[in-house]
């Protein structure tokens, strides 16, 4: 993917050099060849030429459209993560990065990933807009409070790569940097197993689900006052307003913080809001827990 970005870049450099030299060359040539010889002389009377105007409008148009399609195809590929990704949650806040692996590993300002696997970062901010930028991977995405954004990459070479915050966020914006550490798969495994005892995000989410009494309304047996959450993630549901939405991270987050916004059809709008009762990390844990609720999951209650 980075290579695709680079090829486009070098093509554009070539294009720029070509046209710059063309224009500069013509200007210098004309300036010399047609320099004023006598103080009174004037230029030739030439109004214009339609063919020329059309030519030098159409050719740039075709070139720019070509570049558009090239850039667009790279962008679309960047925006669509593969189906199987190693997901990592990222929370940015002034002025540090918090990374949370699904199995519970937490990192600050440093992210370890294995080489050769597609990694998807699901990101949000606790305060102002930040931005995750890894120049070596040619990826960048804003990190916004109140929303999830994502980016994905597939590292191809082990090494340590700069991570920068690329959206100005206040005093220590230029200090909000870190690194992505790409490891051979074996090394990554050993690094993972040296992790904390805290347990996976999903199991932390299960605990939080019980602590906050979500389980009193969201029961697996459809007897509860809230929708069943088993097998719900990724499905499309119909809302009371008639709209249909896909149950993704953003939907779950919104339903916890602002339950009135999208009430599922067939249910009363009685869910209380948990704004202020659960922080960003808690939200991620609950989301991972809901994701983990599959038919055959022994964690289902």
């Amino acid at each position: 993917m980075a290579a695709r970005v680079d090829s486009l870049y070098f093509f554009l450099i070539g294009l720029t050099v070509f046209f710059s030299l063309l224009i500069a060359g013509l200007i210098v040539t004309y300036a010399v060849r047609f320099r004023r010889r006598t103080p009174d002389s004037i230029g030739a009377v030439i109004h214009g030429g339609l063919m020329l105007e059309v030519t030098w409008s159409v050719i740039p148009f075709l070139i720019t459209m070509g570049i558009f399609f090239w850039g667009a195809s790279v962008f679309v590929a960047m925006s669509r993560p593969p189906d199987q990704t190693l997901n990592v949650y990222v929370v940015g806040k002034q002025w540090m990065w918090k990374f949370q692996h699904l199995d519970g590993q937490r990192e600050i300002n440093e992210l370890h990933v294995p080489v050769g696997r597609a990694v998807k970062l699901i990101m949000t901010s606790e305060d102002v807009i930040h931005d995750v930028y890894v120049p070596a991977f040619r990826v960048k995405a804003d990190v916004i409070p109140g929303r999830y954004t994502h980016l994905w990459f597939e590292p191809t070479k082990p090494g340590t790569y700069h991570l920068f915050c690329a959206e100005y966020c206040g005093t220590r914006h230029s200090g909000m940097i870190g690194q992505i550490v790409v490891m051979e798969p074996n090394d990554y495994q050993s690094w993972l197993s040296g992790g904390t005892e805290e347990g996976s995000l999903a199991s932390a989410g299960q605990k939080l689900f019980a602590d906050l009494a979500c389980n009193t309304c969201h029961r697996p047996d459809a007897q509860g006052r809230g929708p069943v959450l088993q097998n719900l993630f990724g499905k499309t549901v119909e809302l009371a307003s008639g709209e249909r939405v896909v149950v993704d991270e953003a939907y779950i987050r919104e339903s916890i913080l602002n339950p009135m916004a999208k009430v599922t059809l067939g249910f009363q709008p009685i869910m209380p809001t948990f704004q202020g009762l659960v922080n960003e990390e808690g939200l991620l844990e609950l989301i991972e827990y809901v994701k983990s609720l599959k038919q055959d999951n022994p964690n289902a209650q």
Partner: protein, 540 residues
């Protein structure tokens, strides 16, 4: 050509009344233009001082010259001063104000008192902003994104925002004045397609000023409401959307860059025609290209937000439109170049600036293609590549055009000639200094150096040192014209009405012009840039 028998006319606008009130209460568009000249020059050097400090800091990787808070204020205030108080007003309010009535054969703009009011509004707005600077500064970036500006920043957001809000009305009223003037006050016989291209560009610019500026004004009100009263329009905690701010902000601020470049392009058309003594090739296409840029310029704001969380579809739409807006600019560059073919080309200072503009604008504009290509923009947005791109256009483009125009019309404005050799030397110093400052920044950006960084990883140092070295040369280059232009006011040779042997209504009146611009209202029967073809090809 300078006439050996040039005299200063006994009555002209500069000696039509002396004393401070004759200036501060003037309704003469020419005097108002000079009032603006004083203002924009002052703010240029204030903004320039901040730039000097920025480049000094960035000469070393560590943040050792100033602390991070101060640095954030420096780049913010550099941007605010330069964008709102220099680049947007400079050409329209100085050259436009001075020349538009003369170029259309009118006695003044449609609303002279409104014109004076516009200057006062500009000054009052600038005072609020200056107050914000001296009483602690602003650290939000000139783009003051939410929620940082509404919730997190502890700097003087409100006075600065108020200052920009107020100054925006100066821009709106100037644009309104220009539109009505160009529609209603052209001299007899001066049809639209006989107008100089300077007028077409300023007309297109005025459309943008009038349609775009109110949007940033209301956006500033919403930001102020959020910040002062905790309203929450952009606060995610109550369901507000910080990205909505970006849409509203860029809806103006992208067209704003066309406010900065279209007048410059108008100047270049005049310079190229004058110093080739030839009609601009493809006049009609250049005129329509100005309008095309103004219209398309309103449709591309989302290209500032490709990584801000828009949908993929929105990004693709903005990308394709951004490519389209490049085409009229390219058409103009080709037409200017074609104008030089078989021209009678003089290498005088304004032409040097014009040629510099064409080259640098071409490079800057082509780097815009890099940014319109979404897949590539992801990598370079918010890096020094962007900084280099917009400085190529705004400094390599607009400022060079401004200086070229200032030099070209200086004899008309002041009645005097400046020292040509010093002027040429300065132009070359500026060109060299500019490229040395900003070219390395393209490379820095692609290598990954983010913008608005106070300290950076050491591997970026070499390019930063080159850039800072260039900045010192550029700074010197900008100071020299101040010296010789001021000197010429007193000691310069008298210019006479048409020192360049150019055509245009402004060269048909004295230098300096009388307060009413013309002895008699001209009646126009010729096309723009129609050089007379007498037997000897002699120019009056």
């Amino acid at each position: 050509m300078p006439s050996r028998t040039a005299l200063l006319p006994p009555h002209h606008y500069l000696n039509d009344g002396y004393g401070i009130t004759s200036w501060l209460l003037t309704r003469d568009h020419k005097r108002i233009a000079l009032l603006y000249l004083a203002g924009v020059t002052f703010f240029f050097f204030v903004g320039g001082a901040f730039a000097v400090l920025i480049r000094l800091e960035l000469a070393t990787p560590a943040g050792d010259l100033v602390n991070d808070e101060t640095y954030n204020k420096l780049f913010t205030m550099h941007g605010v001063m330069m964008v709102f108080f220099f680049l947007i007003p400079a050409i329209p309010s100085v050259l436009g104000n001075f020349l538009i009535p003369i170029m259309i054969g009118a006695k003044d703009l449609a609303f002279p008192k409104l014109n004076l009011a516009s200057w006062y509004i500009y000054v009052i707005g600038s005072l609020f902003t200056l107050y914000a600077i001296v009483s602690g500064g602003l650290d939000t970036g000139w783009t003051f994104y939410t929620p940082f500006s509404t919730i997190a920043s502890t700097s003087n957001v409100i006075p600065a925002a108020l200052g920009i809000f107020i100054t925006g009305f100066s821009s709106i009223l100037t644009g309104l004045n220009f539109i009505v003037t160009i529609h209603r006050m052209r001299a007899p016989g001066l049809t639209w397609f006989r107008l100089p291209l300077f007028i077409w560009s300023h007309y297109a610019t005025s459309l943008i000023m009038v349609l775009g500026t109110p949007v940033i004004a209301i956006t500033i009100i919403m930001v102020a409401a959020d910040r002062l009263f905790h309203f929450g329009i952009f606060d995610p905690a109550v369901g507000g959307d910080p990205v909505l701010f970006q849409h509203l902000f860029w809806f103006y601020s992208h067209p704003a860059v066309y406010i900065m470049i279209l007048p410059a392009m108008g100047v270049i058309s005049e310079l190229v025609a004058a110093f080739c003594r030839k009609q601009v090739f493809g006049y009609t296409f250049v005129a329509f290209a100005s309008l095309g840029i103004a219209v398309l310029g309103f449709l591309v704001w989302g290209h500032h937000m490709f990584v801000a969380g828009q949908s993929v579809y929105a990004a693709l739409v903005f990308s394709i439109l951004s490519f389209l807006v490049a085409i009229p600019s390219a058409v103009k560059v080709f037409n200017w170049t074609a104008t030089m073919y078989k021209g009678s080309i003089a290498w005088e200072t304004p032409m040097l600036y014009a040629i510099g503009f064409i080259g640098l604008f071409t490079i800057g504009g082509l780097t815009g293609l890099f940014l319109a290509a979404v897949g590539l923009d992801v990598h370079v947005t918010d890096t020094y590549f962007i900084v280099a791109h917009f400085h190529y256009i705004m400094v390599g483009g607009t400022i060079m055009a401004y200086l070229g125009g200032l030099h070209y019309w200086w004899p008309k404005i002041s009645g005097r000639l400046y020292n040509e050799r010093m002027a040429k030397v300065s132009a070359v110093i500026i060109f060299i200094g500019f490229n040395l400052t900003f070219f390395p920044q393209f490379l820095l950006g692609y290598l990954g150096m983010p913008r608005r960084y106070h300290a950076y990883p050491p591997e970026f140092q070499v390019l930063n040192v080159l850039s800072s070295a260039g900045a010192s040369i550029l700074g010197v280059g900008y100071l020299i014209p101040m010296v010789y232009l001021m000197w010429s006011l007193r000691y310069g040779k008298l210019a006479g009405s048409n020192p360049w042997g150019a055509v245009g209504l402004e060269w048909n009146t004295t230098s300096p012009p009388p307060t009413a611009n013309f002895a008699e209202t001209p009646i126009v029967t010729w096309a723009a840039y129609e050089y007379p073809t007498t037997v000897e090809g002699h120019v009056a």
